[in-house]
C-alpha cells in the first residue's frame, strides 16, 4: 500500500515512516507543503497523511486543493494544534479521518486500514487468523462455523488484536484504541476485558492465542506462529 506522508517535523516523520514500513507500507515522505501537494496530485496514493501546521502550504490547504481538483484519495489529518477546531474544519473539507498528536503509530495503522477499507467499498470486511473469522460489517466472530458472542467492547478489542498478529500491544495502546483516549491509564480494565475475552474464546480453542507479555501488554499470535 502506498502512503504519502506530508510532515515537516523530521523526527515524527522518521518514526511514522519507520513504523509504517515495518507493517508493509510503501512510504513517501515530504517535509514541505507545496511539494507534498504537487506529489499528491502527481502520483496515485492509497492514502495521504497530512500534518496541518506546515511551511509552504498547510495541511488544510492541501486537502482543500486536492478535493477541488477532484481527487478522492483518502486523507488522514495529523495535528497538534487546537484539535477541536481543526477536526471540524478538516472533516468539513473532506478529510476521512483525524488523528491528534501525540498518537500511536499502531493507531495510525488501524485508521489507515479503516479509511482505505471504506474507500474501497468494504472489501476487507473479513479479518481471518487461523480458524477465527471476524466480520466487521455484521460484527460477528466465528470459528469453523461456531459463533462466539461478544459485547461491543470485546469485539473491538479482538479486532484490534487480530489486526496486528505478532505485535506487542501495550495496555495503554489498547486502552486508547478500544476505550477512547481519556480513560485512566492505570485502571485494570484491559486485563479484565482480556480475561473475559479469553473465556469466551475457550470453546473454540482460541483463548491461548491472546498472549500476555509480562509487564507490557498483550500479543495476538496465530496458531502457526505458536507452533
Amino acid at each position: 500500500m502506498n502512503v504519502l506522508l506530508v510532515e515537516d517535523e523530521a523526527k515524527i516523520a522518521s518514526f511514522v515512516g519507520l513504523g509504517l514500513r515495518e507493517q508493509g507500507f510503501v512510504v513517501d515522505h515530504c517535509a514541505n507543503g507545496q511539494e507534498g501537494y504537487d506529489l499528491a496530485l502527481e502520483r496515485d496514493y492509497d492514502v495521504v497523511l497530512l500534518d496541518i501546521m506546515m511551511p509552504g502550504k498547510d495541511g488544510l490547504a492541501i486537502l482543500k486543493g486536492l478535493r477541488q481538483a477532484g481527487r478522492n484519495v483518502p486523507v488522514i489529518l495529523l495535528t497538534a494544534r487546537n484539535e477541536l477546531d481543526d477536526r471540524i474544519t478538516g472533516l468539513n473539507l473532506g478529510a476521512d479521518d483525524y488523528l491528534a498528536k501525540p498518537f500511536y503509530v499502531e493507531e495510525l495503522v488501524a485508521r489507515i486500514h479503516a479509511v482505505v477499507r471504506r474507500s474501497e467499498g468494504e472489501r476487507q470486511n473479513i479479518l481471518a487468523v487461523g480458524s477465527l473469522r471476524l466480520d466487521r460489517i455484521t460484527r460477528e466472530v466465528t470459528s469453523n462455523g461456531q459463533r462466539v458472542e461478544l459485547t461491543g467492547r470485546e469485539f473491538n478489542l479482538l479486532e484490534y488484536l487480530m489486526r496486528s498478529p505478532g505485535r506487542v500491544l501495550t495496555r495503554t495502546q489498547i486502552l486508547e484504541h478500544v476505550w477512547g483516549y481519556d480513560f485512566n491509564p492505570s485502571t485494570n480494565v484491559v486485563d479484565v476485558a482480556i480475561q473475559r475475552l479469553r473465556k469466551k474464546l475457550e470453546p473454540v480453542a482460541a483463548a491461548q492465542w491472546i498472549e500476555s507479555v509480562r509487564g507490557v501488554g498483550y500479543r495476538f499470535r496465530s496458531p502457526e506462529a505458536l507452533q
Binding site: 518514526f15 487546537n82 501525540p102 467492547r153 481519556d182 479484565v192 507479555v213 509480562r214
Partner: protein
C-alpha cells in the same frame, strides 16, 4: 437595603433643593409682605389719629368708625374700633364692638402718661402740632376676637385709641399662602420630573455602554461602542472603554494563540517520545525488563498527553472557544456502553441503572463520552468498598438529565465547594485510588456548559454523592 437608582436620587435631590429654596422664599416673602402691609396700615392709622384727637363733631352723620373703615378700604365698620378715655380714666367713647379683652385695665395702664394729669412741662412734645407719631403702639394685640392692630395717642384730653382688626389682612395672607401652597408643589413636581427626564437622557449613554459590555464575551471582544451621538462627557469614557476592549482583545488573542502554540510545542515532543517508545517496545524482546520499562514510560507519556489535552480544552473553554461538532447523540446508548466498563472496572460494586430509552441530544459525541466517563469513574473512585452506583436518565422540560449517584462518606461543605476546582482530588483519606488528574470534573462541567447544559453536585443524603448532568434536548440548542 438597595440604594435607589441614580435617576431617582437626582430627581429627589433637585426637588428637595428647589423645595427648600421655594419654601424659604415663600416664607420670607410672605413675612415681608405682611410687614409691609402692617406698616402701611400703621402709617394710615397714625394719619387718622390727629383729626380724631380733636373734639368730635356732633353733627357728623357718619360714625367715625365707618369713615375710617371706608378710608382704610375695609368692608365692615366693625373692623375698626375707637376708644376715648379721659385723663380721669373714664371711658368717654367706645365703639360697641370694641374687643372686651382690650379694655382690661392692665393693658392700658402700661401706656405712658395714661393716668397722670396733663402737664405741659412734662410732655412738651404734645403741643407740637405737626407731631404725627403715635405715642401708643402701633402694636398687635391678640384677643379672643382675633388679632387687632392698636395705635393710640395721649392728648391733653386723654387717650384716643384706634384698633383695626387684622382679620382682613390675614385673609389676604391666607390667599397668598394658598397660592404658594398650590404653586410650590406643582413647581417641585415639574422640577423633579425635569430632573428625572434629563438624568435619563444623560444616562442613556451609560445604558448604551452597559449594553455593549453585556454583549462583550470572549467571542465578542471585537465590539466597540459608537462615539457618535454621545455627550461630550461620555465620549471620554467610551473612548477609554474602547481602548480597554482593544487591549483586551489583543491580549486575549495573544493568550489563545499562546495556548495553541504551547500545545503544539508540547505535543510535538510528546508525539516523538511516544512514537520512538512505541518502536522501541516493538523491537525489545517480548517480556524483557527493557520492554517493561519502555511500556511504563509509554504509559507516563500517555498520562502526560492526557493532561496536556485537558489543559488545552480547559483553556479553550475559558476563552469561550470550545468548538463542538454537533450531531444527534443517543445518550441512553452512550451511558449504557460506559456502564459496561463499570462492570469490568469495579465488579464488586452494585450498579443500578434506570434510563429512559432513546434520550437524544445534539452534541459532540467524543466530548460527551468524556463527561460520562468522568462521572462514572469518579463514582467508582470515590465509592465505599462493596458500595453501589445508581444511574438515572430522564427527560424533562426540554432537558435531558443524567444523574450519577454513589455511596460515599459524607462530604463536608468545604469539600463540596472544592469539587470543581482544577487539580482538586478529594481528601486522600477517602479515595480508594488516588490516580485522578483532578481536571476531569471541571472539564466535564465546561464541556456540559459549552453544550448549553451543566454538571452540578446535587445535595441529597449525606451517605451518597450525586452529580447531575443536564443537556438541552435535540430540539432546543443553546447558541455557542
Amino acid at each position: 437595603m438597595r440604594r435607589p437608582s441614580l435617576r431617582w436620587r437626582l430627581a429627589l435631590l433637585s426637588a428637595t433643593l428647589a423645595g427648600g429654596v421655594l419654601v424659604g422664599f415663600a416664607l420670607l416673602s410672605g413675612w415681608l409682605i405682611y410687614q409691609a402691609k402692617l406698616e402701611r396700615l400703621d402709617a394710615q392709622l397714625s394719619n387718622r389719629l390727629l383729626p380724631l384727637s380733636r373734639p368730635a363733631n356732633e353733627e357728623d352723620p357718619i360714625s367715625p368708625e365707618t369713615r375710617l373703615a371706608q378710608e382704610l378700604g375695609l368692608a365692615s365698620q366693625t373692623a375698626v374700633a375707637i376708644a376715648l378715655i379721659d385723663r380721669e380714666g373714664q371711658v368717654r367713647y367706645r365703639s360697641p364692638w370694641w374687643p372686651e379683652t382690650l379694655s382690661t385695665q392692665g393693658r392700658w395702664s402700661e401706656w405712658p402718661g395714661a393716668t397722670e394729669p396733663f402737664s405741659p412741662e412734662r410732655d412738651p412734645w404734645l403741643r407740637r402740632p405737626s407731631l404725627n407719631e403715635p405715642t401708643i403702639g402701633p402694636t398687635t394685640w391678640r384677643t379672643s376676637e382675633g388679632r387687632w392692630r392698636i395705635i393710640g395717642r395721649v392728648t391733653p384730653l386723654g387717650r384716643i385709641m384706634i384698633a383695626v382688626s387684622l382679620q382682613s389682612l390675614h385673609q389676604e395672607m391666607a390667599i397668598l399662602w394658598r397660592i404658594y401652597g398650590l404653586t410650590i408643589p406643582g413647581a417641585l413636581a415639574a422640577i423633579a420630573g425635569g430632573a428625572w427626564w434629563f438624568s435619563g437622557r444623560a444616562l442613556r449613554s451609560v445604558d448604551t455602554l452597559s449594553q455593549t459590555i453585556t454583549q462583550v464575551t470572549a467571542q465578542g471582544l471585537h465590539q466597540r461602542v459608537p462615539t457618535t451621538g454621545m455627550d461630550q462627557e461620555f465620549e471620554t469614557l467610551v473612548t477609554v472603554f474602547n481602548a480597554m476592549l482593544e487591549r483586551l482583545e489583543r491580549s486575549f488573542h495573544q493568550a489563545s494563540r499562546f495556548s495553541g502554540d504551547a500545545a503544539h510545542e508540547l505535543k510535538t515532543p510528546l508525539a516523538i517520545l511516544r512514537g520512538e517508545l512505541e518502536q522501541a517496545v516493538q523491537h525489545a524482546e517480548a517480556g524483557s525488563p527493557m520492554q517493561q520499562t519502555l511500556s511504563h514510560l509509554l504509559e507516563e507519556v500517555s498520562r502526560l498527553s492526557s493532561i496536556v489535552r485537558k489543559l488545552l480544552l480547559l483553556s479553550l473553554a475559558d476563552a469561550g472557544q470550545m468548538s463542538l461538532r454537533r450531531e444527534p447523540v443517543d445518550i441512553t446508548a452512550l451511558v449504557q456502553e460506559q456502564l459496561e466498563d463499570v462492570a469490568l472496572l469495579a465488579p464488586e460494586l452494585t450498579v443500578t441503572a434506570a434510563l429512559e430509552p432513546n434520550l437524544e441530544v445534539m452534541g459532540d459525541r467524543d466530548l460527551l463520552i468524556q463527561v460520562v466517563q468522568n462521572l462514572l469513574s469518579n463514582a467508582i473512585k470515590y465509592n465505599l468498598s462493596r458500595g453501589w452506583i445508581r444511574v438515572q436518565g430522564k427527560q424533562q422540560q426540554g432537558q435531558v438529565g443524567i444523574t450519577v449517584a454513589n455511596a460515599a462518606k459524607p462530604l463536608s461543605l468545604e469539600e463540596q465547594a472544592q469539587l470543581f476546582e482544577r487539580f482538586y482530588r478529594g481528601n486522600p483519606a477517602r479515595t480508594r485510588v488516588t490516580d485522578g488528574l483532578g481536571l476531569g470534573l471541571s472539564l466535564a462541567r465546561e464541556i456540559a456548559r459549552a453544550h448549553g447544559g451543566d454538571v452540578i453536585l446535587v445535595t441529597s443524603l449525606p451517605s451518597e454523592v450525586q452529580f447531575c448532568l443536564t443537556l438541552p434536548t435535540g430540539g432546543k440548542l443553546a447558541p455557542t
